[in-house]
Subunit: 292 residues, 2 copies
Amino acid sequence: MCTRIDGAKVAKDIRENLKEEVERMELKEDDVKPGLAIVLVGNRTDSATYVRFKKKACDEIGIVNIDVHLDETVSEEEVLSTVRSLNEDQRVHGILIQLPLPSHISEERVLREVSLEKDVDGFHPFHIGQLSMKRSLSSICLPCTPKGCIRLLDEYGIELEGKHVVILGRSNIVGLPVALLALHSNATITICHSRTKDLPSITRQADILICAVGRTQMVKADWVKDGVVIIDVGINELVDPSKKRGYRLVGDVDSSVEEKASAMTPVPGGVGPMTIAMLCENLLAAYQRSLK
Amino acid sequence: MCTRIDGAKVAKDIRENLKEEVERMELKEDDVKPGLAIVLVGNRTDSATYVRFKKKACDEIGIVNIDVHLDETVSEEEVLSTVRSLNEDQRVHGILIQLPLPSHISEERVLREVSLEKDVDGFHPFHIGQLSMKRSLSSICLPCTPKGCIRLLDEYGIELEGKHVVILGRSNIVGLPVALLALHSNATITICHSRTKDLPSITRQADILICAVGRTQMVKADWVKDGVVIIDVGINELVDPSKKRGYRLVGDVDSSVEEKASAMTPVPGGVGPMTIAMLCENLLAAYQRSLK
């Protein structure tokens, strides 16, 4: 029997708690409200969708959105100067740079321009360094998707200590930071990627398998051992003529794995909603710190 | 036949090259020479020994030492203010904080006080973040021991790409950063530590095993597979009445492993000398950057 790790439900509960937290603040008309600036560059459909979801969650909770939509052809200097003015803006407690940026703009330079106080995505090198070294983790924002993965395990009472956690993918946004968080929770970690040889022989050792490579249903039932816990971060479009839009969303893990897994996140409705809930949580924490 | 990975020899060659590099600068009497400040707090014998080795290497190469020896009972604020004045000191191109610091002083706070330009140990959170995210690695100093480990493999023509590298130990100084460097060289990495279950079953999978736990001869022959490459970072004292000082230095790996390994670093004379050579290399790179 495979437990469905219901990220949508957990995320909804978190958002409701955050909404209550904002209500308890009893903010007056003139008070500065928690504010999130979302910087979107260009017109990627997926990015626009993610931004819409994030804004919706903010609205529900009582977080003010400060929208910044820049043209695809904007210069790097203009993006940097936008970030600098948001750093100064008293209404803004968190700055989210929707990734990926167009290729002519250095993500590295843009992300390190965000002030440490407003880095609600936790992607500033200083924060990734603190995360790597397990330092002052309670006073910084952790990257939202990795934090959401670990929170889901926690909510379902799945211990990390002493477990062998195998991570597929080594991106700066998911694979690497989630591996570090698992390590700091005393898991043994293995990070695999496109150059890994005989991948199934490694994934079969996983007590917990975290998949974040973005390859449609890559992980099959014979890639895992009985009782494995699966966190599927992948969100891939699979052609499906029966759907109105012509495709459906699937993860990196094939549904056949359910037969062997003890617990597994669905796609959609698993990690995705958690990312947004963690963003809102980070924003409110940054707001609270700004009041001190 | 097990190849001896001769760190002492590789390090000597590197130091000689660095010495020639300094000579080629043809510095005049009035010119600012490359300068390394070494901050030693307290009277640990091992720390004093390491500092002596580092100073000797600097002297040989033509790096000026600025010695700062603080009392065991110094306050954290005094250490921080010492670091701040070294940050301003034009003679100083690198600041080395000899670790560990006495327990009443926060290493975290001291290390992040070192200016980014003078962080020749690469321990500032910003630099560890850059390292984690594989960003601008050519323009920052990488932590000396991890860099030395990878350099040794490189010198002996041992490829990392596609290899399974198992790291024993997850310290911020060695285990974690060396794992990240191996990952960035396209190795599959597994990080093990004191909470890892059935350690030998994991170490036996290693193509390359990097040991940095500081436990005397812990890794035995039946913990590894035939042909493994061993990088032994451990430096442990083993009682030996036949020695004048009553002990000899041994690594984390038992000498019986030589029968199965294809290549292995000795202790002493393996990674140790490389750490110092990498420090000198980092210092000269920081000096060169300061001239631009």
